[in-house]
Symmetry: D2
Subunit: 347 residues, 4 copies
Amino acid sequence: MIIVLRPATSDAEIAKIVDHLGALRLQAHVSKGAERTIVGVVGITDDKETLIAQFSQFDGVETIMPISKSFKLVSREARPDRTIVRLPNGATFGGNELAICAGPCSVESREQLQATAEAARRYGANVLRGGAFKPRTSPYAFQGLGEEGLRYLRDAADRHGLAVVTEVLDVRDVELVARYADMLQIGARNMQNFGLLRAVGELHQPVLLKRGISATIEEWLMAAEYIFVAGNHDIVLCERGIRSFDPQTRNLLDLAAVPLTAAQTHLPIVVDPSHGTGVRQLVTPLSRAAVAVGADGLIIEVHPNPAAAFSDGPQSLTLELFADLMRAIAPIAEAVGRTLPKNVIAV
Amino acid sequence: MIIVLRPATSDAEIAKIVDHLGALRLQAHVSKGAERTIVGVVGITDDKETLIAQFSQFDGVETIMPISKSFKLVSREARPDRTIVRLPNGATFGGNELAICAGPCSVESREQLQATAEAARRYGANVLRGGAFKPRTSPYAFQGLGEEGLRYLRDAADRHGLAVVTEVLDVRDVELVARYADMLQIGARNMQNFGLLRAVGELHQPVLLKRGISATIEEWLMAAEYIFVAGNHDIVLCERGIRSFDPQTRNLLDLAAVPLTAAQTHLPIVVDPSHGTGVRQLVTPLSRAAVAVGADGLIIEVHPNPAAAFSDGPQSLTLELFADLMRAIAPIAEAVGRTLPKNVIAV
Amino acid sequence: MIIVLRPATSDAEIAKIVDHLGALRLQAHVSKGAERTIVGVVGITDDKETLIAQFSQFDGVETIMPISKSFKLVSREARPDRTIVRLPNGATFGGNELAICAGPCSVESREQLQATAEAARRYGANVLRGGAFKPRTSPYAFQGLGEEGLRYLRDAADRHGLAVVTEVLDVRDVELVARYADMLQIGARNMQNFGLLRAVGELHQPVLLKRGISATIEEWLMAAEYIFVAGNHDIVLCERGIRSFDPQTRNLLDLAAVPLTAAQTHLPIVVDPSHGTGVRQLVTPLSRAAVAVGADGLIIEVHPNPAAAFSDGPQSLTLELFADLMRAIAPIAEAVGRTLPKNVIAV
Amino acid sequence: MIIVLRPATSDAEIAKIVDHLGALRLQAHVSKGAERTIVGVVGITDDKETLIAQFSQFDGVETIMPISKSFKLVSREARPDRTIVRLPNGATFGGNELAICAGPCSVESREQLQATAEAARRYGANVLRGGAFKPRTSPYAFQGLGEEGLRYLRDAADRHGLAVVTEVLDVRDVELVARYADMLQIGARNMQNFGLLRAVGELHQPVLLKRGISATIEEWLMAAEYIFVAGNHDIVLCERGIRSFDPQTRNLLDLAAVPLTAAQTHLPIVVDPSHGTGVRQLVTPLSRAAVAVGADGLIIEVHPNPAAAFSDGPQSLTLELFADLMRAIAPIAEAVGRTLPKNVIAV
């Protein structure tokens, strides 16, 4: 059950509702959005109708919705309009304009970032991606430059009018990463790191939540619910491929997940065809398909020199291939009634 | 190793080559195509270079190619141009024009077929699909109308200028099905029914080979190789989703398989988003994505009244939704430089 | 719904029941077992209770059971006792004594079979396995010796008191294989080759039905139902591993399938740890586990010289390793109250 | 490459080695074990032989091993003997005696714990399991009692001579959990939460590392390597089922992983058939199989009243069923030359 409050409801009115729920041994999850506050109610009751009748009489209550799904606040039932997530540079996820995130897997050097950011901007991206803290399967692999990397990202993005999305791996780094990033990424391995979900849920910056490597759509939306219920409503989902049996690709990109998820949640959803396939030659065709299927944006690994990349070289596009990708998706975007980021300088 | 023969090579010349291979304890797979004959050579030799030098001197030998892949004749190495498969009504797979196959899961009645064929043609399909022999998980489920169903298919297709593709389940039915169909479908469950592959390999009609429910790309191409090596070179591959863990969809449509397969074989590849998702609402978005990713065609379940369908109702489009699908893919096809079937009467 | 008939019910009485079902537009599946005949009834009825009351009055009807499962005749509800399948040499599947099938992947020569059969018998097996018709992923791989291989199998088995289990791939070979084999194997690739299931369903020899490479338990039992409903009740299920994502093993052996399946069907179930892992070193530990979990038998690939095997060498045991396996499972069998085949000459 | 140092090597000698490695641009991972210190060397060198010759002359160097695997310190190559992990109450993992961990999914109350601990001990367990911090898919599900739950666990275990294993979810809770627990569990969802792996790597208590829900054996061993390289060598692996496609079980227990992993690492490995199947009726048969396949112990969900459990009721054994399980595995343990915990009071 979700209690939707009127825009100007006071804290005292909210407190009354919460107290009364407590008296009925029901849990209240208050989430204050930009415009209105929602109280998610969780617990067991014998008589749902009486409960709805009772709370409808409280001051400030606009409407009450019984919700049967296991995820409640992120469900389409809870919000009829689709959420649009905005970054400070004007990039949007979920609106008519696509968000295009581009950049290297790992931040390696100031020069690498500047070259990538310049090209990303030139060819039409509006968000710079790059990892300063890297989740690596092996403890002996390059683990990222840390704060130095965050600085390079911020500098390169600022110089080229881009926003920054970067991964946070550890609850202890959330504040640090949030000082540099416009959007914090939760990686596939951490989709069910619930402490980290709660920690980014308390931030005011948007979160990019990648799907776990073998997560169902429902588990993914439940992970988003953890962030939402903690108070952060600016969540973007990211399909990045799931584990399967064919060794020819690193992951199996699940494009049906885009319309299937969009039918169940008001949150935007983007696609990562770089991790989703692990094969450079597949990135552009799958980007075309992602835009065609209805994705709200793309996140693409781009590197000035993939052969020398510290990580994920085989799936990274060169700057030129990224330009090709942007040319390839332009007519598809138009065909589905979407636009590319307006910052395009030259294609 | 593949020995490519000149167009006019005589049977006597071919026999000499085969005999000499036999003397060296190598197996020869002679496959006569429309234009030229290819001899696939299989076996172990110590000295490949001497072998190539030796056979280059035989009459009729145009060129000899060493091939490292486990699938040989269907590999891109064996044929630099992409194969175009043509049906009698002019439908093509693998050319610039897409092939659009539409029709019910099961053939149920003459009226159902006529209504579907009329609409399929009206909205732009050029091939009529429908099962007269149905592979059903349960022995108690509807098993198809058999020859009666084939007759309905042929009649409805002929009346509306469509070609017929229909599944053959059993080697004993190959001749019967081939009398009515323009293209024989090998279903996912039979992808490694090697006797059936060999039987359709001896036909002169094109074959639509669906990917097995958990087949790797390599296993799929090897199944195609069985058909090709038996002499039938008109093979179209069909991605139809693989088994995965999320209960929300019937299968997981693997669109990366399209460009990944196209990079390895000269055979055309189409996509079946109906079985690939099992969810009606996903069929049109995934059709857009399939065209965008580079598929050579689509195969769509369409039924005048899905709620009353004998099988696969939940994934079947109504005639109106099929019209919507065709409208949705038109601009995508244009965006990737492809055309829809020219027979479109009205959209 | 299942109508169980009394032992001596005449054909005329059965015909009356079937006719009356037809008049009600219900399908009747008559399956005559060794002791009694069962009529499986399929179709839709508004009033199940009236139907049961009606048919209870027919001559010969002992009892009528409504069955909710999609598989009916092979379900535990249809038969409270577990089925015991017997081979001519006295080997049993499903009784207290385990069945131990051993032999090469492919039949290669008379000498290979004689050496294997001699050792199989010596170390305690009671069934000789071996493929004369081989389902090979590649058309260029060894396809089996055909009838010559069947002869070698029969001769070697007869000389050593073993029964023969061998795969049939093609409906056109069913009669031929049945002339030589005591038990016909349906391989994983053919689990849903429904024509083949029906064909072996009309035989009087037992069938070993392997689980498809990504078949659910329900789909597997439905495949068994196809055989059962065709009249052959002597079916043994074989778990042989399913497809998964870790490249270290060929398949993922699903031992939970043994008790899970046994809870749903009266049919016996054996385990194939050779295909189930694809790794020689894992065959004996997984055999111990299979016996411990409750399997009714094992099917093991054994070869006098695995390094020279035409197929599946890496997963084949040498004759000595097979002796070790038998020694290893003996105390496990005892621990779970089972016995090894009594024909053991020396361990 | 691994440099194994003599027992009494001084810090100054170690520093010299590390410095010289640094000069060669190689990374040194010093891990001090109870008896000796190992220096894992990571990086790229042209001439491995010269390098080995060079470092062999340093003081304190006992031997140098080139290791090709991606996981080094946990590999069998690095330590020929199997690791035995000991808990304060004498429970061992990896020795001849099995470790039997039993207890509820969630710690719910003092009484629940006392009843469970009493029965666990009575029937032969030597470790008490139970979650005080629960990783729950839904934010609305019971999240555990926290420190209160840890206290209940400690008290109940102490009163009955058991050790405590419990999960830690968050790096910020590692110290707290370590104050109460004898062994810290890293759950499947956190197998690649690298900050948490490093944090428990700095502890002196043993760690139970569960396999991720779709982790390969190699990824799992790499996760163990993170803990090992941080200095904690007391790691026990736990197979708990992987994600698969059949809805009849919660996970697919991969028993082949036990011998397959044991062939690659010196670390002990236990099996969790409760999460591994999710079905109460399967827990005992799969426990028998786990012991038969060679597992070093079991971890079993036991609850005095599963029907009222806050979590995982359907897979929890009653106290009586746990007694049955212990009776069932006793003869299997004997058959494979293992013993049950010696603390058994009465079975």
